[in-house]
Amino acid sequence: MSRKPYVREMPRFAWVFRHPRYLRYMTRELSCLFIGAYTLLLVAGIGRLAEGPAAYEAFLEALKSPLSIAFHVLALGFAIYHSITWFNLTPKALPVQIGEEFAPDWVITGAHHVIWVLLSLGILSLAGAF
């Protein structure tokens, strides 16, 4: 009896729709595009600032356009989604064993979220948001 194993090719992209968990994963991965684009925008802003006050004012004015606001809302949404889902995974990467027992997941996740909120508030306050 001869062997003739049959190999099923994995679809290059369609696997994402096989289960919601893969869609959630790809959303987290794709969020980096928006975060990356926002970083480039900040770099462009620094460039305009170096060019002088008039160029920077024009840059700030351009940020007020509806397209820019839509991008910011989208980028913020993805950044929050990425941060929350990433912090929710931290107990897997950083389990903390105290004595015999492991600290519950919510303690590790919660600590990350609390530090995130505090740092965000600190940065916002430095930026004069309050």
Partner: protein, 247 residues
């Protein structure tokens, strides 16, 4: 005891006559407490003796009856028919070649498992007269969950990275490597690093986390792999940035 008629659609492949697999549907009169494996056994015993599949213990211990049930990797002995509605689609584990019907070719996993040396490599050999290698309950707890792996390979079928990059060592083998790396009696981490710290080792994992979601024994391979990534990264920094390249 109530009976109901269940339609089971099984992917069939006969390497001697078929050029590609095809689905075959069976109507099975099932009892309330039956699992998918019972339905397959019923088909084999009363309808179609040519149906091929692996199974052994029927109690989620041996890890033989892993298959895709409605597209999700499951142990057929743990998948209760009462939890499914409509036609139940049964296919061989994804990402593995099909040998025949629901039987897959698992050579790739077995060789990868051997490559990570999933056994204790003592730090120093002691003579028998020196007694046992002792361990505290806390040291045991550090790796205990990873000892529960039954090599059923559901995690490989759930892992898109393994599907896309066949060289990837994969969740079960890597979490078993971690099981021994995390054992206080073991001294084989550096030997295993050759496989574990390689690109095809932990670094091909992009933390999808599906492996941990489908594990029937509630092992958390995703956690093992991320912990190994951190340990290997620390090793790398120590080697490249510390004076003398101390490990």
């Amino acid at each position: 005891m109530s009976e109901r008629l269940v339609e089971v659609e099984v992917l069939r492949y006969n390497p001697e006559t078929d050029s590609e697999p095809h689905f075959q549907r069976y109507s099975v009169s099932c009892e309330e407490e039956w699992v998918v494996l019972d339905a397959l056994n019923h088909v084999k015993e009363t309808i179609d003796p040519t149906l091929s599949y692996r199974w052994s213990c029927h109690m989620a211990v041996c890890g033989s009856c892993g298959m895709m049930i409605n597209g999700e990797p499951k142990l057929a002995c743990k998948a209760f028919l009462r939890n499914y509605e409509g036609v139940i689609r049964v296919e061989p584990l994804a990402h593995f070649p099909i040998e025949r019907d629901l039987v897959t070719v698992i050579d790739d996993f077995v060789s990868k498992l051997a490559r990570v040396k999933p056994y204790l490599i003592p730090k120093e050999d002691k003579p028998l007269s020196a007694g046992e290698y002792r361990q505290t309950p806390a040291q045991l707890k550090k790796y205990k969950q990873y000892t529960l792996c039954i090599n059923c390979m559901l995690c490989y079928s759930a892992c898109p990275e393994y599907g896309l990059i066949p060289k990837y060592i994969g969740p079960a083998a890597l979490s078993l490597a971690h099981r021994y790396n995390a054992d206080s009696r073991d001294g084989g981490r550096e030997e295993r690093a050759q496989e574990v710290a390689a690109t095809e080792g932990v670094w091909d994992c992009s933390f999808v986390g599906a492996c941990s979601e489908v594990c029937p024994e509630h092992v958390d391979p995703a956690s093992a792999i991320q912990q190994e990534k951190i340990a290997n990264m620390v090793d790398w920094y120590k080697e490249h940035l510390m004076p003398g390249g101390a490990k």
